[in-house]
């Protein structure tokens, strides 16, 4: 039996408590994962400075080089996994088996993580706006225009409380190590695979293993990480986001409510954008916060909803090994049923029509012995104030909402990714100025086509470093 230990600043630790990771379809036990307790995290975090000191023995450029090597190891090599080893194919198979994500999607996410590591130099150059990297090692330096600058690390270790069901998020924590900050991960209960494999790939590439902690475990571990790391990130629902709002120590990533909006100037050409809309809803099984959940249009809502529904309404679950498998399974008992009930309840509104119902063969909810599926669902919503106009579920789901262009930004709420199809410069200006929109695409960009040289939900440099004053001499005399 594969056993995966806790990692405490690089050292394996075998806990008295172990939790099984099971195959979502068969119930077969895939691995035993040793469980941390909150106390050991609080104890270990008192030694976090050692991790940063150790990483600072290597230049950021060297660490970037190691990340590039690690990218190759991550994608190509057989790497240690607990008391065993794992090939890339075995990794994809077991990740699919525990998360319900089709294997080809696991492979895609693997490539995505490797891309970010392979291009870490460019990523950091973009996120630091081209600053000399030794500024972050030393804490100060020159910007190149004869101006002193200082970037002070806000923490010795950065914590990440990771989800179980979305392997795509792992790209976000990859820059932490080359920025010479200790990395503290709490893997999701069904997805220990990416954090452990990435850890082994980085160690094989020469990054000191003492810079890493991996703490699988119960909720108290997440709390302990957020309590003791000066900077941490957590993934969760809206309640989690609300709980940590305003806390500068915690970045909470929740639902994205990502959208596509078509301007009045382009709406007559709506048929040209159907593939873009379908892909944005459907790719990665709609499971990501960057998957679209809303299509906002000034008119032709019924026609657009129907055109999308016609393409998605016939999609059915396929075996996880099928390269055409487009739907991820819900492995948590009752989750799919609860979402299905919420949608049914929402469809009772006079403003809401489930357009996919007429194309679907059977019910939206498919319940199997150990997992469930939700079939793609497209709603036509005629009232932008309706509850179903701005909601998100973790499957291919979208609401086509009819809303006048000049009301869109007032009605759309927080939007992680907004793809705007418009040449209207006034509307573009309004979109650029809107602070409720995070990532803005103006043009034909699918919502999930995110460029890794761009910040995501805030710039990690701003999160991990503080730009503060630093002087080595008095300022020039001021003339009065």
């Amino acid at each position: 039996m594969l056993e995966i230990p806790v990692i405490r600043w690089g050292k394996p630790y075998e806990s008295m408590d172990q939790s099984p990771v099971v195959h979502f379809e068969t119930g077969e036990e895939l691995a035993k994962v040793h469980q941390a307790n909150g106390g050991i995290i609080k104890m270990d975090m008192r030694k976090a400075k050692k991790a940063r000191d150790l990483l600072r023995q290597h230049s950021i450029e060297d660490l970037i080089g190691m990340c590039e090597k690690a990218a190759d190891y991550y994608v190509n090599d057989e790497l240690p996994m607990g008391n065993g080893t794992q090939t890339p194919d075995e990794f994809c198979r077991i990740q699919s088996a525990s998360t319900g994500l089709p294997e080809h999607m696991c492979k895609f996410n693997m490539g995505k993580s490797a891309y970010v590591m392979k291009n870490m130099g460019k990523v950091l150059d973009a996120l630091t706006r081209g600053l000399p990297l030794d500024v972050f090692s030393k804490g100060y330096g020159e910007e190149g225009r004869g101006i002193n600058i200082s970037y002070q690390a806000t923490t010795n270790a950065c914590g990440w409380v990771l989800p179980s069901n979305s392997p795509g998020v792992h790209t976000l924590w990859l820059p932490v190590i080359p920025l010479q900050i200790g990395l503290v991960l709490k893997p999701g209960s069904s997805e220990p695979w990416t954090p452990y494999r990435m850890f082994e790939a980085m160690v094989k590439a020469g990054i000191p293993r003492e810079a890493f902690c991996l703490y699988p475990g119960p909720h108290e571990c997440g709390s302990a990480i957020m309590e003791t790391c000066e900077r941490s990130t957590i993934f969760g629902g809206q309640a989690t986001v609300d709980q940590h709002a305003g806390n500068p120590k915690v970045a909470a990533h929740g639902p994205g409510y990502s959208k596509i909006v078509i301007g009045e100037d382009k709406i007559e050409d709506w048929e040209q954008y159907i593939d873009l809309m379908v892909d944005s809803l459907y790719v990665n099984s709609g499971r990501s916060c960057i998957s679209a959940s809303g299509i906002w249009v000034p008119k032709y809502g019924a026609e657009i909803a129907d055109a999308i529904a016609k393409k998605l309404g016939t999609v059915q679950p396929k075996p996880m090994t099928d390269p055409d498998s487009g739907l991820a399974a819900f492995t948590m008992k009752g989750a799919a049923e609860a979402m299905n009930n919420m949608i049914d309840e929402g469809c009772k509104s006079a403003a809401v029509t489930d357009v996919t119902a007429k194309y679907r063969d059977g019910e939206r909810l498919i319940q199997e012995e150990r997992c469930d599926f939700l079939l793609p669902t497209v709603l036509h919503v005629t009232d932008p104030d309706d509850a179903m106009a701005n909601t998100e579920f973790m499957f291919p789901f979208g609401s086509v909402v009819e809303c006048p262009q000049d009301k869109f930004l007032k009605k759309c709420g927080y939007t992680l990714v907004c793809t705007a199809i418009t040449d209207d410069e006034d509307f573009q200006r309004d979109l650029i100025d809107a602070t409720n929109v995070d990532r803005l695409n103006i043009g034909e960009v699918r919502t999930y086509q995110i460029h890794w040289m761009q910040p995501h939900e805030g710039n990690i440099i701003d999160f991990l470093f503080r730009n503060r004053a630093f002087q080595t001499e008095p300022p020039p005399a001021t003339e009065v």
């Binding site: 008295m16 469980q35 307790n37 106390g39 050991i40 609080k42 104890m43 008192r46 309590e227």
Partner: protein
């Protein structure tokens, strides 16, 4: 006298059979009995005074509904024989409406005097002072630990800790305020430990002990350097993993810690003495014959599970002040074999009962 474990088990069984009969006779005595049970008896299809002749006969009673412990008059469970004595009322957490309560004369003293006999003097020195790092207010634990300390010749220093306020903070999502409150409690403990009070022993909940130990480490000290030699701690958070972490990393080899399991109804169950061979498994034994713990089938609460099997914890309280036949605890665990020191069934691996665990706020202090 016999000394084999088998003989001890038999003797213990005879004692609990005798206790069951004696306690039922008292609580159902027409003049001296408990008002609650005398009223209840009118609805039974058996006569407790004649039909309870051994412990197993207690299964004739319906399962006890713990909601009956809410509200007044609080002395209705106390036999009238004791109504002219000085009485205490102890409450449970009481986070949802009226708390459950228990009226007591001497039970808490007796329970903790019995428990005191199980503590090793080398780690809990006679005459040493104690720190009670647990809930204050209308709780039995506060007075019981103080009595235990006095029984052993010491003075007990206490902190202010209102767990109901902490539960409110957690339910409102005010985690930072809950942490601040915890820090406030630890501040009080630090003040006591650094004020030359000769404190060598303590009771603590796992969370507070952890917080205190980490605070001391941050101040380049430790529990041992603070002078503590013996600790007893209780709660479902006292898991094998926490036990190991505590012994290996928080306390060190010179500080003794023993797990306990208890509540207002049962008194205090003792932990099986530490044995490396147990691999930190924690096994509790009820203070028989005054209380009995069974591990029963999830689908049939009258049926014991086999040894090492998992079931729900069922509690009987058989004291002169309280009679509870068959109360289903909020915990589950594994049934354990009798031990030389405690020759009756025990329970290990206690954790929140899986069917209600999700709705319970645990570990608030």
């Amino acid at each position: 006298m016999s000394t084999t474990l088998e003989d001890k088990v038999k003797a213990a069984r005879e004692a609990v059979d005798k206790q069951a009969v004696e306690i039922v006779q008292l609580h159902f005595h027409p003049e001296d009995g408990a008002p609650y049970w005398l009223e209840k008896a009118k609805g039974f299809d058996f006569d407790p005074l004649t039909d309870v002749n051994c412990f197993d006969d207690l299964k004739k009673f319906p399962l006890f509904e713990d909601d009956d412990l809410r509200g007044g008059p609080v002395d209705r469970f106390l036999p009238k024989k004791w109504h002219d004595k000085g009485r205490y009322v102890f409450e449970t957490g009481g986070t949802t409406g009226t708390p459950k309560s228990r009226c007591v004369v001497d039970d808490f003293r007796i329970d903790y005097e019995e428990f005191s006999k199980t503590l090793p003097d080398e780690h809990f020195p006679r005459g040493a002072n104690w720190l009670m790092l647990g809930p204050s207010g209308p709780r039995r634990l506060r007075l019981a630990v103080e009595h235990l300390c006095q029984t052993r010749g010491g003075i007990c220093f206490c902190v202010d800790l209102d767990p109901r306020w902490v539960v409110k903070l957690i339910k409102q999502g005010k985690i930072d305020e809950a942490k601040a409150y915890s820090a406030h409690v630890i501040d009080q403990a630090m003040t006591i430990l650094t004020s030359n009070h000769n404190v060598q022993c303590m009771f603590a909940t796992p969370k507070l002990l952890e917080a205190l130990a980490l605070r001391l480490i941050d101040e380049d000290s430790s529990i041992e350097e603070a002078g503590i030699t013996g600790i007893f701690a209780g709660g479902t958070e006292f898991t094998p993993q926490w036990y190991r972490f505590c012994k290996e990393e928080l306390l060190g080899e010179n500080v003794y810690i023993t797990p306990t399991y208890g509540n207002t109804l049962m008194g205090l169950a003792c932990g099986k003495p530490f044995d490396p061979a147990d691999n930190f498994k924690i096994t509790y034994y009820a203070p028989q014959p005054r209380a009995v713990v069974e591990v029963v089938n999830f689908d049939n609460y009258d049926e014991l599970v086999d040894y090492d099997e998992t079931g729900r914890v069922k509690l009987y309280t058989l004291t002169h002040e309280l009679f509870i036949p068959g109360f289903m605890e909020r915990d589950e665990g594994e049934r354990e074999r009798p031990h030389e020191k405690y020759p009756w069934d025990g329970v290990s691996g206690t954790r929140p009962f899986h069917e209600i665990a999700k709705s319970t706020t645990v570990g608030v202090y």
